[in-house]
């Protein structure tokens, strides 16, 4: 896409804004619309936009397929692990009330952590599926 300066320059302006917006949606999901799922998709779409404009090879230098696979597993493990922490701290599985000194704080921590897990998994899964499609050669 070297011949298309308009697209290239616009994407250079937009991609950081999209990444920042994804983080805002991720960590502001408690207060406004959004959450891990939407944030993950927006984050992945920024990198997909980069891959569409500069080629998958350059995008893979930023986030490789193996990193995406690892992150997908880590996100799911983080989610499930928060549940196990609930048991260790004396509650039920995925019980956030016991995670901190009072229930409200525990709920905040639990929701923040599992939303992070959701976001990590969704972003890496969407990105990895995109890589799998584009790298596939008949």
């Amino acid at each position: 896409m070297k011949k298309n300066p308009i697209l290239r320059e616009t994407s250079h302006l937009l991609i950081p804004a999209i990444l920042l917006f994804a983080l805002y949606v991720q960590f502001h999901g408690d207060y406004g619309p959004g959450g891990g799922f939407q944030a993950g998709v927006i984050f992945a779409s920024a990198i997909i936009l980069y891959a569409l404009l500069h080629g998958v090879k350059r995008a893979e230098q930023v986030v490789s397929l193996n990193l995406a696979k690892t992150c997908a597993a880590c996100g799911l493990l983080l989610y499930a692990g928060v549940g196990v922490f609930g048991i260790l701290w004396g509650g039920n599985y995925l019980d956030f009330n016991v995670l901190a000194h009072d229930p409200i704080h525990g709920q905040h921590w639990g929701i923040l952590l599992i939303e992070l897990g959701v976001g990590l998994t969704v972003a890496s899964v969407v990105l990895a599926i995109f890589y799998a499609f584009t790298k596939f050669k008949k």
Partner: protein, 146 residues
């Protein structure tokens, strides 16, 4: 076409005050799935041999299932009926108590992440399984052809 449909339904969800759903629809439906469809089209062939062969049992099964589903909708409460069970069961509890119990202003987040966190764990597992399935399918085809 799919992207346009998703964008219009996202606007419709905003009008209905369901901003969280609208957000998801705009990001996933209008953004990601269009890109994924295009990249899937790029690895499929342009032509496909159609096998014109009617399959009577399949038609019968589809018609019976469809008729049963339509018949079961007759028992459902009227559209936007405030007395419907879905508005009477746990929804009032979520609306009135969730801020005191969870302390999160966004009701959708507290229902999804706290009250129904098992459900969301299942959803994340489904997303992860989809990745494994895609990687297995595309990888397996490549190995066979080598």
């Amino acid at each position: 076409m799919g992207g346009m449909y998703s964008l219009i339904s996202a606007i419709l969800f905003v009008v209905l005050d369901a901003v969280d759903v609208a957000f998801t629809e705009a990001a996933v439906g209008a953004g990601i799935s269009t890109v994924l469809f295009l990249s899937a089209f790029s690895i499929t062939g342009k032509h496909h041999e159609l096998k014109r062969k009617s399959h009577l049992p399949a038609l019968l099964i589809v018609l019976t299932t469809g008729a049963a589903l339509i018949y079961s909708t007759l028992d459902m409460p009227a559209f936007s009926d405030p007395q419907a069970p879905i508005h009477q069961h746990v929804a009032p509890h979520y609306i009135e108590e969730s801020y005191a119990e969870i302390g999160v202003p966004n009701l959708v987040t507290s229902v999804l992440a706290s009250y129904r966190s098992f459900d969301t764990l299942g959803e994340v597992t489904v997303v992860f399984t989809a990745l494994i399935a895609v990687l297995l399918l595309l990888g397996a085809i490549r190995e066979n052809e080598e």
